[in-house]
């Protein structure tokens, strides 16, 4: 059953068409990998799906309902976007992991946070670490927990392993593999050759935001 459908979606900025008339269906619990040359509109496509930008024409249907009919914050809590090189907020890791609780007006759940920290191979006391002391890989892992601590229906991963050291990359990839078993639909953008080798469903985009080839293994 389709959890996400893009019908004739196009996106134009300053008279430059970035996505032209794109159709795409993603089944629930699917793991879709999008690849293609830089600047072909992959990240823009994820931003449209995440409702951080609105298509110039066409519609995006999520769980049977038009994206525009959702309360925007609630939609984004269900279709969560994790950025490449994410920015961490305020001072500490806690400040960052507190935000998802604040957004949902819930009390901070230390045990839950500890579980997620362990999932990405970070110790429980990592919570009080200053964000300025974190490596790139640690920042990305903290950012991923921000997206996952209240599991979304769809997780959009925008080159989240790009530029990571091999250990962090392995940890993140393990986490992604685990998520596929947790009924989270995943859509990732990647250039990584290892990730492309193991990907089951791949969409190749070419310049101009056109889907060039779809591979299902």
């Amino acid at each position: 059953m389709a959890i996400l459908t893009l019908k004739n979606v196009s996106y134009t900025v300053d008279q430059q068409q970035i996505i032209p008339d794109l159709n795409l269906t993603v089944a629930a619990n699917d793991f879709l990998t999008i690849t293609g040359p830089s600047g072909c509109g992959k990240s823009t496509l994820l931003k449209l799906i995440a409702s951080l930008a609105t298509p110039t024409s066409g519609e995006i249907i999520f769980a049977g309902k038009n994206q525009l009919d959702y309360e925007r914050p609630l939609y984004r809590q269900q279709v969560s976007y994790c950025f490449q090189q994410p920015t961490l907020f305020d001072q500490t890791v806690r400040d960052n992991l507190q935000l998802p609780f604040e957004i949902r007006q819930q009390d901070f759940d230390q045990a839950r946070v500890t579980n997620y920290l362990e999932l990405v191979a970070l110790p429980a006391n990592f919570i009080d670490k200053k964000i300025t002391d974190l490596s790139g890989g640690e920042r990305q892992r903290v950012a991923l927990i921000r997206n996952l601590i209240f599991p979304p229906k769809i997780l959009l991963l925008d080159e989240v392993t790009a530029g990571l050291d091999s250990r962090s990359k392995e940890i993140v990839q393990d986490l992604i593999r685990q998520l596929t078993q947790d009924k989270i639909t995943l859509i990732q953008v990647t250039h990584d050759s290892d990730e492309l080798k193991t990907a089951a469903n791949i969409i190749h985009m070419k310049q101009g935001g056109i889907i060039d080839e779809t591979i299902s293994r």
């Binding site: 900025v13 995440a50 409702s51 951080l52 930008a53 609105t54 525009l68 925007r72 914050p73 609630l74 939609y75 984004r76 809590q77 969560s80 976007y81 994790c82 950025f83 994410p86 920015t87 907020f89 305020d90 935000l99 998802p100 604040e102 957004i103 949902r104 950012a143 921000r146 997206n147």
Partner: protein, 258 residues
Amino acid sequence: MKQLVVNNASLALAFMLVLVAMIISTKEKLHLAKDIIYSIIRAIIQLTIIGYVLKYIFQLNNAWLTILMCLLIVVNASWNAYKRNPNARHHFRDYLETFLALFISTFVTLGLIILSGSLKLVPSQIIPITGMIAGNSMVAVGLCYRALNSQFRDQRQQILEKLALGAPIKTASLPILRESIKTAMQPTIDQAKTVGLVNLPGMMSGLIFAGVDPVRAIRYQILITFMLLSTTSLGAIIAGYQAYRHYFNDQQQLNETN
């Protein structure tokens, strides 16, 4: 009361002070000479007109005319604060929002001072105080707008990520909003800290010039300090909480043009 002596001849001599600024501008190639001349001519004309207008209004002592004059001050201050908003969309609604911030901050503050019994309901007291309150609120609102704009530009990525996590626009903007309100209030707070130590402000100096006992004059200055804290905080909060929404579109997405 001591007689104040600023006749036309002494004013003309004092014009030498402007020449100092102009010489510096020319020597240092600041290209401000034209601007200085323009501002001076404008100030002389504005002050001359307002001098005669105020003389007429004070003599007439009519409540409606006083209210009209106060409203004019607020309308003008709002226009100037509105022009300082780099994100103003040239909509009348944006001007109205600035006007609302100036109107509420000015008249709530003025109302409280009147209720405290510190001011008499006479044009010669109400109008200058309204000008003082609205002027400070105008500066605070303008500062708030500029701080909002620069922070929305500098922290664009952070806001995007908060939105992506499902934060409502208010939650995503709150740190920026708080910082901007702080920036707007900071000069007033700094001024309150140094008043009397570094500068003797206009109101107090004016009273002392007019022969009032400095001990009495400070009471007015304390009142002004309270008044300015109230008006700048009210103005910045009302303006900031309205202005931040304009950085987002109807879909709660950050506008592209920030």
